[in-house]
C-alpha cells in the first residue's frame, strides 16, 4: 500500500471540503509561480509544511521522508545551476580544477535560491493536496469542473491498478526473498529480471480475465462515474 494514499484517507483534514483544499493549493501555486517572490515563496513553504504536519497531523518524520524524493532531484539540479566554470576567478567561493575555476557567484546564487524556493513552494503545496485529499474526492472534483471523461477514466483506472500491480510485485518479491533471491548483487539482478518478466506475464493474464469480467458486466467502451 502506498503511504501517500493511506495518509490521504487517515489525516485530520481528509473529510474537509476537497474544493476548498484544491482552491487553496491552486492559489498558492499561482502565487509561487506567478509572482516569483523569494519571501512569499518561503512563506508559502512554511505555511504548507505547518498545514500538512500540524493541522492535518501527518507525522513530520514521514513527511520529510516523502519530501526527500523530489528534494533529491531538486538539489541536484540546483547544484548544476549554482556552480559555473570560468578561466578567471570571479567567484565568491571557488576552487581550482586543472587551470579552470569552479565556483559560485552572486547572480547564480540568487537564481538558485529563488528557483529552489519556488519549486519547494510548488512541491509542498501539491503535497498538501495529495496527502490530505483522498483521490476519490479529487476525482469527483475533476468531474465537477468538467474535465474530459477520457482523462477521468484514465485516472480512475490507473489509481485502481497501481495497487493491484504493486501488490503483485510485492508478492513476487517476497517469494524471491524467502528463497534467497536477493542475497548477493548478482542474485539480485537475476531476481529483478525474473520479477519484471513474471509481472509482465501476469499483467497479460489478468487482462484476459478482466475482459471476461467486463463482458459479464455489460461494459460498452466507457468507464462511467457517477456524480
Amino acid at each position: 500500500m502506498l503511504i501517500i494514499d493511506s495518509y490521504a484517507y487517515t489525516n485530520k483534514l481528509s473529510t474537509t471540503n476537497p474544493a476548498l483544499k484544491a482552491g487553496l493549493v491552486l492559489m498558492s501555486l499561482l502565487f509561487s509561480i506567478g509572482l516569483n517572490n523569494l519571501y512569499i515563496n518561503i512563506l508559502i513553504i512554511f505555511f504548507m509544511v505547518l498545514l500538512t504536519t500540524k493541522v492535518a497531523a501527518i507525522p513530520l518524520k514521514n513527511y520529510l521522508k516523502i519530501l526527500s524524493i523530489p528534494l533529491g532531484f531538486l538539489i541536484i539540479s540546483i547544484i548544476t545551476i549554482v556552480f559555473s566554470i570560468s578561466s578567471l576567478d570571479e567567484f565568491i567561493f571557488s576552487f581550482k580544477v586543472l587551470n579552470k575555476y569552479v565556483g559560485v557567484n552572486q547572480a547564480s546564487l540568487n537564481q538558485g535560491m529563488s528557483l529552489f524556493a519556488r519549486s519547494m513552494a510548488a512541491v509542498t503545496s501539491s503535497f498538501f493536496l495529495s496527502l490530505t485529499t483522498p483521490l476519490n474526492q479529487i476525482i469527483k472534483l475533476l468531474k465537477k469542473i468538467r474535465l474530459p471523461n477520457i482523462l477521468i477514466e484514465l485516472i480512475v483506472l490507473i489509481y485502481r491498478f497501481i495497487f493491484i500491480f504493486l501488490e503483485e510485485a510485492r508478492e513476487i518479491r517476497m517469494a524471491q526473498e524467502m528463497k534467497f533471491g536477493y542475497i548477493s548483487r548478482k542474485n539480485s539482478y537475476t531476481s529483478i529480471a525474473l520479477l519484471i518478466k513474471a509481472l509482465f506475464l501476469r499483467v497479460f493474464l489478468r487482462y484476459e480475465d478482466m475482459i471476461i469480467s467486463l463482458d459479464c458486466k455489460l461494459y460498452d467502451g466507457e468507464f462511467k462515474i457517477g456524480d
Partner: protein, 270 residues
C-alpha cells in the same frame, strides 16, 4: 428457465474440456456444481455466460436457444449474473459505490435508480458501511462481498457463484452461507465449489463434475450418499453424512440441527 443441452466445449488446440453436459436448473433452487480442481467447473460457467461458445450442443434460456449476437448476449446477461472466484479481477473502481454501480451505469440507468439499487445490493451482502471505502483498503472477504454486490445490483433472475468460499475464514464462510441462502429467496443460484460441507448445507440439487463430464446428479442427500461417485470425482463426503453413517444417527442438514438433536439424545442416554 436455464438449461444446458448436450454441450461439448473444446479448447483451440482440440482438447475436450467439457463433454456432453446436460443440466436443468429447474431441478433445484440452489444448484451445486462440485468437482475437483480442473474438473471444468469454471469452463462450464463461462459457457453458460456465453463467453465461451460450445463446440456442440447449446444453452437454452426461457425456452429459446442462446444466440451469440452482441445484442442478444447483452439481453441475456441482464438476466444472469456471475461472481468470479478472484474479486480483484472484477473490481474496476477504487471506490466501492462506483464499482457496484458499474453494470447499471453501462446500461444508462438514471442516477437515482443507480443509487437505490447500489444501496440495496450492498445491504443484501451486509456491506453498506463499505460504500465510501477505497477498494484497496478492504480485506479479501470484504472484496468478495463487494464483487457479489456488483452482480446483485442488476437484480438478475439467475446468479452464478464460482467458488464463493475459497480463501475465506470460518466466520466469513458462515456469513457467506447466510448471504447465499438469503439471496436464493428471490433468484436461482448456481454455485460451484469443492467445499463439500458448504455445498451440502446450502444446495438442494447437485451435479458432480469430473474431467469435463457429469458423473452424477441428484438431490443433495441422495448424491452425498454415493461414496463411490464422490471417490471417483476425487471428492469426499460432508462431515454430517460421515457421522450419520458412522454413528448410525439420523442425517441432519446442518450443524445447528445436529447439535440440538444430539444434545437431546445425549441427555436421554445418560
Amino acid at each position: 428457465m436455464l438449461k444446458v443441452h448436450s454441450l461439448d466445449y473444446s479448447y483451440q488446440d482440440g482438447t475436450l474440456a467439457l463433454k456432453n453436459i446436460n443440466m436443468d436448473t429447474s431441478k433445484g433452487s440452489i444448484i451445486g456444481i462440485i468437482g475437483a480442481n480442473g474438473s471444468g467447473k469454471s469452463t462450464l460457467f463461462l459457457n453458460i455466460m456465453g463467453i465461451l461458445k460450445p463446440s456442440r450442443g447449446y444453452i437454452e434460456f426461457k425456452n429459446e436457444k442462446l444466440k451469440y449476437k452482441k445484442s442478444s448476449l447483452i439481453n441475456y446477461r441482464k438476466e444472469i449474473g456471475i461472481v468470479f472466484q478472484d474479486p480483484e479481477k472484477q473490481i474496476f473502481y477504487s471506490n466501492v459505490e462506483d464499482d457496484v454501480a458499474f453494470s447499471l451505469r453501462n446500461l444508462n440507468y438514471d442516477e437515482e435508480e443507480v443509487k437505490s439499487r447500489v444501496d440495496s445490493a450492498l445491504a443484501r451482502v451486509g456491506s453498506l458501511d463499505l460504500k465510501d471505502k477505497p477498494v484497496h483498503f478492504l480485506s479479501y472477504g470484504q472484496k468478495k462481498r463487494v464483487a457479489i454486490a456488483g452482480a446483485l445490483a442488476m437484480d438478475s433472475k439467475i446468479l452464478m457463484l464460482d467458488e464463493p468460499t475459497s480463501g475465506l475464514d470460518p466466520q466469513m464462510t458462515l456469513e457467506m452461507k447466510e448471504i447465499i441462502k438469503d439471496l436464493s429467496k428471490d433468484r436461482k443460484i448456481l454455485v460451484s465449489s469443492h467445499d463439500m460441507d458448504f455445498i451440502y448445507e446450502i444446495c438442494d440439487y447437485i451435479y458432480i463434475l469430473k474431467d469435463g463430464q457429469i458423473l452424477g446428479e441428484g438431490d443433495v442427500t441422495q448424491v452425498f450418499k454415493r461414496g463411490d461417485l464422490l471417490d471417483k470425482a476425487l471428492l469426499s463426503k460432508p462431515w454430517l453424512v460421515k457421522v450419520h453413517e458412522l454413528l448410525n444417527i439420523p442425517l441432519y442438514k446442518n450443524e445447528e440441527e445436529f447439535r440440538k438433536e444430539v444434545s437431546i439424545e445425549w441427555k436421554k442416554g445418560s
